[in-house]
């Protein structure tokens, strides 16, 4: 279980997170929505132990990752897979090397097994023919799919996806949502997913949270979100131009 308690973070004078508390049950797929610069990415970076909060804590299965040293954090992070908003592919490595990177670093698999896993992942995201290309020779959508392959290749207990469908066409987007959902169910992993494609996201999540100006203004099941009377949540889910946002 992931438990976030009273998490606050400032960058200079600007508060990025303001007293955020939430509990994510084991094995759930949690969607996180909200307007741009509302603190979504900052929150998931705290969950992954990439940022240290000013106040509050993040506990992974009872272990306070916020209070850990870098070595302990690294050990805990090895149980995470993460897709970054900008994909964060390593420019100097080919597609196959990018996908193989976490396996080489986090597992003791041999080169043959690594090769098989990489091929399987690339096949799942439809990029088998691109294995020897470098990231700068790929389109935005292809890079996103390589990022997804790299985030899921280690079959981690916890997976974090920051905008997994950004830059993808609607059909591919839904395929990606379905793929991530199916894999999350198969692996029984706990997943956090940020997406601006609210409609697609709502088809796969178990629970959903909404961030607004650094605060978590809503948290509940998908059904509760859809039935919410909070004007901000309603406007955001419906995509209305009229409203408080």
């Amino acid at each position: 279980m992931i438990r976030v308690t009273a998490l606050s973070k400032r960058f200079g004078r600007k508060p990025a997170l303001d007293d955020v508390s939430v509990e994510l049950p084991q094995g759930a797929l949690w969607g996180l929505i909200g307007p741009g610069a509302s603190g979504k990415t900052v929150l998931i970076k705290h969950v992954a132990g990439l940022l240290t909060p000013d106040r509050g804590k993040v506990e992974i299965e009872g272990q306070n990752i916020s209070a850990m040293g870098e070595v302990s954090r690294q050990r805990l992070r090895s149980r995470f897979g993460m897709l970054f908003q900008q994909n964060a592919l390593f420019d100097s490595l080919t597609v196959a090397e990018n996908v193989a990177f976490p396996l080489r670093r986090l597992t003791s698999l041999g080169e043959r097994e690594i090769g098989e896993r990489v091929d399987e992942r690339l096949a799942r995201v439809g990029l088998t023919d691109f294995r020897d290309r470098y990231p700068n020779a790929l389109s935005g959508g292809q890079r996103k799919r390589v990022g997804i392959a790299r985030a899921t290749v280690t079959r981690s207990e916890y997976v974090i996806f920051d905008e997994p469908t950004a830059g993808l066409d609607p059909v591919t987007s839904q395929k990606i949502f379905d793929l991530l959902h199916a894999e999350q169910r198969a692996m029984k992993s706990t997943a956090l997913m940020i997406s601006s494609d609210v409609a697609g996201l709502m088809t796969v999540v178990d629970r959903v949270g909404m961030m607004l100006r650094g605060k978590l203004v809503f948290e509940g099941t998908r059904e509760e979100a859809l039935a919410s009377r909070d004007p901000y949540v309603r406007q955001f889910l419906r995509g209305d131009t009229e409203g408080p946002l």
């Binding site: 995470f80 897979g81 970054f84 964060a88 390593f90 420019d91 605060k215 901000y232 408080p244």
Partner: protein, 279 residues
Amino acid sequence: MAAGARAASGEGARREPGRVHRFVEGLGTSAVDGARAARLFYSILIRTLYYSVRGRREKGAVLRAMYQIGNRSLFFITVVMGFIGMIMVYHSCTQVNRITGDLHLVGATFLQIVVRDFAASIGATMIATRVGAGIAAEIGSMVVTDQVDALRMCAAEPIDYLIVPRFKASVVMTTVLIVWSMAVMTVIGMLTAWGMFDVNPRIFWNTSMVDYRDLTMGLTKCLAFGAAIPIVSGYCGLTTFGGAEGVGWATTRAVVWSIFATILLNFVISTVGFYVFWA
């Protein structure tokens, strides 16, 4: 009131602080930021040294960095140091001609100052501008595109993966480049003295004033500068924030602070050397 509405209204916002309050707050923030920066730099320095011994070795990473730092700087260093050697000898001979007209010790003093100090300090400044900027730009770009965080998620310590290969490569290649610079400065200086002041190369090539103390000082500076440039530049790269503008600033800071570090180290090494060898 709904939670969203409460967040949007900024309920509970405090009164704006006064000018004195803001000044004191700014002063305190600067002091805290400075202390944090110093602590982070120290941490990067220590971890670089630690991982140089105990870190994970990436196949070919050091060789690639050596090629980038050494081979790619060779032309630039050769041209710049050649011109500096020429200018130094030209001005030395001109001044000596005005005073005594006896040029037979110009080569000996030139060799001593090149070996002891000038090749290392000027060469390191040139290397800092080229190599330091490159390291900061590369690491800074990786920071702003989340690649450094991606490394962390894959249990790859960024200092071990990004700075240590460049550190090892720089220590070796800065030394090689500076020794090469000594040779270039000497040859070009010799040709300048011969062509413009009719000093015979056999007279110019006078190593009587160069002894083990000058060699020790020169070599110590090579190693120290070679170690300082990638650590300072790596620190600037890793502390990049913002987008392309942030990378630009990181690059500028890397060049400025690398040159500052070489000058400071030069002062420290020269002072210690003076007390150890000559005082």
